[in-house]
């Protein structure tokens, strides 16, 4: 890991107009950076805005406000042509290995697409060689390059998705819940592969997930998202040892541990009610406010440990 900030996100907002005059603040004022070679984990429950944040950072969605600097360049200010070139540096691995591969494409079409878009493979033979190299890199049999996605298992498909992201030699990859659709026995394979690739290629990751134990394992630092805002950010060891925000605490206590002894003695914190998502803000179903997300500016409580001011 180096000291320079490869990614700097400042004041990032993404609002959706959901009709009837209601505005969904999916991502509300995000501020963070990711160092080169670092893995930043981002956790939160469904609807907390973490996937939207990932997509907005890659400019798959246009932001409502804010900036994302990649190596000092604000990507939202780039012209379409420059943005296209920038996409070689920033890639994404998607959650659903079934939905993220075009069912009408063969594996070599899928992986080769980025090569074609950016004109990275001179000849047919070169293209074929590069695809085989990528398949090999993710541990897939290159004999299967002419097969279609539905013929592969979930873990194999996810590796195809990884090979696709690697095709353009990116520096930064957003992993959007890359393992949550996979079986337990396969998750570790994919996580190990991602770590291994990071070491070999010097990649920087934003690792979005809801599985806290896996996030802790892969990340250097972890950010906790709640209702579109970041409520806590710390080194992964520190966050798990010393959670401050009540939401982080609840989340940690809810993780089921595969050990009957621990489970039998565990005291579980629960939030009063299910959340209805960001539209009804922090209101529970009986209308009581449970968590204050208003005073959400992050303050540093100890070195590198940031938490929403209301709880600092």
């Amino acid at each position: 890991m180096k000291d320079n900030h490869l990614i700097e996100v400042k004041g990032l907002k993404k609002y959706f107009n959901v009709g009837k005059g209601q505005i969904l603040k999916a991502v509300d004022d995000l501020n963070f950076y990711i160092r080169e070679g670092e893995t930043l984990g981002m956790v939160g429950e469904s609807g907390c805005g973490k996937s939207t944040a990932g997509r907005t950072i890659l400019r798959l969605y246009e932001p409502t406000a804010g900036s994302v600097n990649f190596n000092g360049t604000d990507i939202y200010k780039l012209s379409p042509g420059k943005m296209k070139a920038m996409r070689r540096d920033m890639q994404m691995i998607f959650q659903d290995p079934y939905a993220s591969l075009n069912p009408r494409f063969t594996v070599s079409d899928i992986i080769g697409e980025a090569l074609d878009i950016h004109g990275l493979a001179g000849s047919r033979a070169e293209r074929k060689k590069r695809i085989e190299e990528l398949l090999d890199m993710v541990g897939l049999n290159s004999d299967h390059a002419t097969r279609y996605p539905h013929e592969f298992s979930g873990g194999q498909r996810q590796r195809i998705g990884i090979a696709r992201a690697l095709a353009v030699n990116p520096k930064f990859i957003i992993c959007d819940e890359p393992i949550s659709a996979l079986d337990v026995s396969i998750q570790a394979q994919v996580v190990n592969l991602l770590k291994d690739l990071q070491d070999r290629l010097g990649l920087t990751y934003l690792f979005i997930a809801h599985d806290l134990s896996m996030v802790k394992h892969i990340s250097d630092r972890v950010a906790v998202m709640y209702l579109g805002k970041m409520v806590e950010l710390a080194d992964s060891e520190e966050l798990y040892a010393n959670p401050i925000h009540p939401y982080t605490k609840t989340l940690l206590s809810a993780i089921p541990i595969p050990d009957p002894e621990i489970e039998a003695n565990k005291k579980r914190l629960t939030l009063e009610n299910d959340m209805q998502g960001p539209i009804s803000a922090a209101k529970g179903e009986d209308g009581t406010v449970q968590l204050d997300v208003k005073d959400s500016e992050l303050v540093e409580v100890s070195k590198g440990h940031w938490v929403a001011r209301a709880y600092a």
Partner: protein, 331 residues
């Protein structure tokens, strides 16, 4: 313990283009009264197919129950007519599915969905059923149950829907509840709540539960006994203590090893299970796990191993547990 459900030599296949997928291959297990049994395994291991076969909800075609018996309270469910099964489903056996949005009827109010089962199976009048239904909604932790009674499923959040589903499944106080990945679609904090509700309801009603899941964490918190399935077969069974503290089958060991623990150091790599599960259109002749197994031996590729018992409750099927394996390795 007196078993209320015995599954004997169950074999279920699917006919697909290109052949027959042997999804469940000789499944045997029992569920005792008031017991919670987890069936764990990865997708395609046959755990959901087993659950659906017990309920006779498995679509046929394409599936075929090749052979076996499902003895529930002394009667073979596989010999029942559809009409007879309808009287059992919802009354003696309840079921909860993974996705409460698709298993609740979106056009019918929650209250009506509960009272329907009560009127059908218990012969209650509407007002009795409504009273009982509201009581059930309160029991599963739904606040303002009277108001909620008249709402539609889409007005409920995911966790609330699953609570409602539990209330419906348990409304007639069934002897057995089959929960097929009940929390997979939910967030962890909600998952914890739903698990608590299920445990509480079980204590109150004495229901036996079959919990189908892939999450070993959930198993550790919730179950008495565990059945580990792989490629349509049972590879290990035992109490949760036996399975978590003294696993014997390499697959079980591998599963436990491949999960990161919160107390694990960051640089400590995960130990994954290599490879991919076999395609059951052509099941391996030997042990189905052999191609992914660190401890595989020559025999494993040729012959499917039999059972080795460690206690009255603990059994695993692996050639490494054969006396000759130890001899061969010590020499």
């Amino acid at each position: 313990m007196e078993p209320i459900l015995q599954v004997k030599d169950l074999n279920v296949s699917f006919h697909v283009r290109g052949g027959e997928v042997k999804a469940v291959r000789g499944m045997n297990f029992e569920v005792g009264k008031g017991e919670t049994v987890a069936i764990v395994g990865e997708s395609g291991s046959g755990k959901s197919v087993t659950a659906q076969t017990i309920m006779r909800l498995i679509p046929s075609p394409p599936s075929v129950i090749k052979k076996g018996e499902v003895i529930f309270q002394g009667q073979d469910l596989l010999k029942k007519t559809n009409k007879q099964m309808e009287a059992i489903r919802g009354k003696d056996i309840g079921m909860i599915f993974q996705d409460p949005m698709t298993s609740l009827n979106p056009t019918i109010k929650i209250g009506k969905q509960i009272t329907e089962v009560l009127i059908k199976h218990q012969g209650m009048s509407f007002s009795e059923a409504k009273k009982h239904g509201i009581e059930m909604l309160k029991l599963v932790g739904i606040k303002n149950a009277e108001e909620r009674f008249d709402q539609y499923p889409h007005e409920f959040s995911g966790g609330m829907r699953q609570r409602a589903m539990i209330a419906i499944a348990l409304a007639c106080k069934p002897t057995l509840l089959i929960a097929d990945e009940p929390t997979t679609a939910l967030d962890v904090t909600i998952q914890a709540q739903i698990m608590d509700v299920m445990k509480e309801m079980q204590e109150r009603l004495g229901t036996s539960i079959i919990l189908i899941t892939h999450d070993l964490g959930v198993v550790a918190g919730m179950c008495d006994r565990v059945i580990v399935m792989y490629a349509g077969e049972v590879v290990e069974t035992g109490t949760k203590w036996e399975i978590f503290k003294n696993p014997q089958h390499p697959y079980t060991k591998g599963l436990l090893r491949s999960m990161p623990r919160l107390d694990q150091k960051k640089d400590e790599p995960l130990i994954p299970i290599v490879g991919t599960p076999p395609d059951l259109i052509k099941p391996p002749v030997g042990c189905p796990f052999a191609a992914r197994c660190d401890e595989a031996m020559r025999i494993c590729e040729r012959v499917d191993p039999g059972a080795t018992e460690f206690s009255d409750t603990h059994m695993a099927r692996c050639w490494n547990l054969h006396p000759m394996a130890k001899e061969a390795q010590s020499s």
